[in-house]
Amino acid sequence: MLDAFIQGLLLVLQWKAFVFMLAGIFVGFWVGLLPGLGGATTLALMLPFIYNMQPVEAFAFLLGMHSVVATTGDITSILFGVPGEATTAAIILDGHAMAKRGEAGRALGAALASSFVGALIGAAALALAIPIVRPLVLTFGSPELFMLAIVGLAFIASLSAQGARGMVRGFLAGGLGLFLAMVGQDPQAGVARYTLDTLYLWQGLDLVPVLVGLFAIPEIIDLVVRGTSIAGNAPAGRISKGVFEGVKDVFRNWWLTVRCGLIGTFIGLTPGLGGAVAQWMAYGHATQSARTAEERKGFGQGDVRGVIGPGAACNSKEGGALIPTIAFGVPGGASMAILLGGFFLLGLVPGPDMLTKHLPVTFSLVWTIVIANIITVVACFLLLNRLTALTNVQGHLLVPVVLVLVFIGSYTSNSSYADILVSLIFGALGYFMVVAGWPRAPLVLGLVLGKIAENYLYISVARYDFAWLGRPVVVVLLIIAVGVILFPAVQAWRSRRAHG
């Protein structure tokens, strides 16, 4: 085992594999920065280039690219409030709020450091979990996966606003997200639901234009209203100074970083949930780490824990998602499904062979994640001063550029003008939600989880009738969901009692 581990490292460090990894990192760096250009799409675009490569070179290229996309996606999310990737939207809530307070450097430092720690956790999980993961994954059937989706939604809906009324709004937003997820062709009966008789809506609402509109348009409007730069009147020298403060924040909140990294890994290895879920679950957990309701009010206003949680989860999920992909040939998400295609193109069959005959190749994947993240984080730190300076650029110079990126980012998801229209509609919805004090995070999670939850609910009912409600893991998850919903009320009651 140790031999294979070291052999995996040596394979990645071969000059050809290393050069391909650098090329992948370069592509992934820019793909992450640009809104709308997704990591999965780019993986698919790059797949034809691997035909003539050796397996280690091909995976160094593909995985090197894929494992840095989320890291650089955080940069766009924090600096401009525009999600660089669908998987980096949660970090906007606190990261961009920090940038507007003149703490872009600190937010980026925290995001990069937590991303790096998250990537290491994911890679370690991949290395350690291979022999023990099989029974764990196999205990999760459709009922458990449905309940996991419900727990995720309960987390974010109950924790993203304060008080009973805030919780109603959280669940309203989450319910709206679930409802919107039903737009499109129903997977069981083939009925076109809520498509307004348009072909575009048959495939459902695409996540990218929805996210870009929901988060970027309100920020653009606010930037125009303020008439200043993103960092407002914060003194120019201060912005990038906090970088190491951000890194220290990760170590100050070490256990939160580790827990969110583990959440990301777990979501990653659970087939079908995907990266967009991991970040919101981690955000919900970070919110839960606030000890009082007063402390929780700081989330969304620039609490560094709201950056650290999603940052760690976003990168750790990659290692987690590789586990079922390699061990069982069951991809954890869209990107892993494309990577699985890469396995077959190269003549490798995921399964027992990858854990025996091709073990060094499997460990080379672990090393690729680690080395690619080290290189990206170092490159980002070197460029941080220039990147954070962008928050001091006057708003009237940024607005047209960001608008161009937002519209192109939306358009590129399906090459349809309707995507831009969807962005504008969700931009208006996002703006009104912000004005009314409704949380946007549950809406996004509902939209992401809707289709998954429906599929798992249907399979559970079809296969077990209502007996699935009595399965032990389902009961445990149900108790967790109820606990999560009651948690803010219990916390408020304890706080009231403590204050007499």
Partner: protein, 158 residues
Amino acid sequence: MANRTSLGLAIVIMLLSAHGIYSAHEWPLKAKLFPLVIAIPLFFLAAAEALWVIFGKSPTASASDFKLSEDQPAEVARRRTLLATGWAIGFFVLILLLGFPIAVAAMVFAYLTVQGKEGWIFSVVFTAAVWFFFYGLFELLLHMHFPDGWLFGGFGGF
């Protein structure tokens, strides 16, 4: 303002979910199970929020989310919000009419000169830089296809 907007959102969600429930009745059980499971509680939650706004006395709940800046007078904020909305919609209309390549240049230049009050030389140079970035990356490097605008006879893109 927050309460009125919340009431508006709640009413829109009530209408949406009512439409969702009504439409679902025609579908087979497989297709309507989940929509009904979601839309019925959603309707009642939205109704609860609407009643809360109309009759409730509790202060507005704050969300763990981004807050709009409040350092401008309400009238200025409203005017600038409408202006920003106008620019975004105007850009979309430009894209439809002229296609992406021309609309990007036209929008950036117009924004800089009209809204940003920048000089002509700076605006031309800045616009050219943005346009070459757009063209180099999306057209030359990524080979993305941007349809012609409707004014040039290409009614595609939707």
